[in-house]
Chain length 395, copies 2
Amino acid sequence: MNSSLETDAFVQEIISAIQSVVGIKSVALHEPEFDGNEWEYTKECLDTNFVSSVGKYVDKFERSLEDYTGSKHAIAVSNGTSALHISLLLAGVEQGDEVLVPALTFVATANAIIYCGAEPHFVDSEADSLGIDPEKLRTYLHSSTTLIAGQCRNRISGKVIRAIVPMHMFGHPSKICELLDVCMEFGITMVEDAAESLGSFYSDKHTGTFGLLGTLSFNGNKTITTGGGGAILTNDPELAKRAKHLTTTAKVPHKWQYVHDEVGYNYRLPNLNAALGCAQLENIESKISRKRVLFELYQDAFSSMSGVSILREPTGSRSNYWLQTILLDSKKISARNQILERTNEIGISTRPAWDLLSTLRPYKDFPSMDLVQATELASRVVNLPSSPQLAKAKR
Amino acid sequence: MNSSLETDAFVQEIISAIQSVVGIKSVALHEPEFDGNEWEYTKECLDTNFVSSVGKYVDKFERSLEDYTGSKHAIAVSNGTSALHISLLLAGVEQGDEVLVPALTFVATANAIIYCGAEPHFVDSEADSLGIDPEKLRTYLHSSTTLIAGQCRNRISGKVIRAIVPMHMFGHPSKICELLDVCMEFGITMVEDAAESLGSFYSDKHTGTFGLLGTLSFNGNKTITTGGGGAILTNDPELAKRAKHLTTTAKVPHKWQYVHDEVGYNYRLPNLNAALGCAQLENIESKISRKRVLFELYQDAFSSMSGVSILREPTGSRSNYWLQTILLDSKKISARNQILERTNEIGISTRPAWDLLSTLRPYKDFPSMDLVQATELASRVVNLPSSPQLAKAKR
């Protein structure tokens, strides 16, 4: 950036492009939309007194998630973080293990690893999907780990690298098949973080169904919401049973007796929130098709601009376009904070990528490969307002 | 019990007493009641799109809980278990500590201790309130621990006994002031489990406000419900701030940046559930007054029966009578399972006390004082249908 005047003009150009899509008004980053059976189902919970751990909607939501994702089993839980925590436990992650995780992801993943008594080990990303770079990972594991009795050990720490948690960033499927190949080669279990990618498919297979376990989130800012909520996906009936047991205080089923056979968790999704989820899921394809229209609108708006490009779904995938994303050219990085400041000032909610986990105070001393790509990508990302409702605003 | 015929007659007498109060029909152990502004507030969340972590009801619910309990600060969280977990962390419980906990309580307390990397140390109960016996505890601590530099150390394990978690069982206030005296004497921090006792006061002070921190639960079976939910109470502004920070992923406030300064948790209560809580709390005194009437109805019904007594609030307290409780005489203990079987068979939901935590597989090897009273009490308790709605059924 040559001058502040030039930066001002660039920032103004970006604001104009956004406003050409969303209109000149305050606009949220991602707003939920309740235009289906949300009222009916939640009211039924209140009318029948089934708002909590007992009720038909938890079961219905789980079966609907199975139908939609093609996963053999779905277990509804309190949020995406608890889904990750239990999935890591079920993947065998334990005290003293390391778990590979992109430095460029939300902090919940690293937290969930810590809850298991394990340590995050940060890996780099690639620019197509913003997910983990499989080739770079393979090279790194070859140079930094040793396979002993089928277990991948960090040569420096001596610890077992038990699992990896790829994340489908902003809804765009990662290079998940290549990552699975790396997992096979090094004996690492995959827990797939599909918190942002409900409705995103890679080679016609739903994200979150490639790993041994996958996780979803239904937080308020997601494509569909239950207020707060999440789910665990798995094709393994035993793991599914264990997931249900562990997330419901590990109570042994009995008509009246209270026996718990292991240390469990209270990670239940209340029936009230599941009711909302059922109604939301009925309309997910309408939301996604409008989010895809919104992408096209943004694409048109930014097509003639230099210094910035819009992130599109990787080849061979169908993205839910959860968060619309522009990537600043490397030479425009210095304008990022001004873009974020100015847009938020005038009521256009935008946000940057997360600060790399490896730079956060609680995580700066954990193992990491070089993070050249993730560092650069993190400084180039700006997420734009992404609600499906905005597609109606086409002008 | 002399014969099975005699037991049959005793069981039948108990069933008749219950039916004289609740009528001859299926009846739940504790059903929620939504007869206030529940639908209005929930609908408002849907209509305004604020169902998740942002919205006015979380704040409103917290301020209402402060008003009602007299606690200076209330922090709404996802459930009672997460409230206990964070309260223990804030009380300084860490890896390698021991925490005193009644053997006669719900498993969540022991689980929360394990989440902190600490160990439960089980203590005995007394018959007035079913809570921890303060005198027995004092004697035990004198004989089994040593005060070193103000820290109470278990002489056998050498570990620091950092905290104690008294619980107000079935809503009846424990001998909390005597327990506080013991805490003072031995340098032990109190985290008060008021999961069952919202609306219960000891010497006109709300349960949960005696300890450094207190916890509430709004599970579906509680006096008021948010579907799933809980709260942390404290008078300490710094602890309150830390509780909010830790339960909301430890994100440093910023308009758009994502920085987290410690390992946090996703223990937020969604706005949708908080809305339900606001409406429920508005009517809590009506619910409690009917639950107290229900107690009187049961008291009348059981007054002429031998072999069984009804548990009443301890002197000097006002109980919410969350769960109505009969105590079988020691010589009638052998009839307990038959009472539970028969009542549940005919649709009258009853339940026993929890199996002592010290007998559960995950907890059988942790330190414990002798549990003579808790063992006996656990075998004598039967909880009866306790919904406030049942008080209307007076006949």
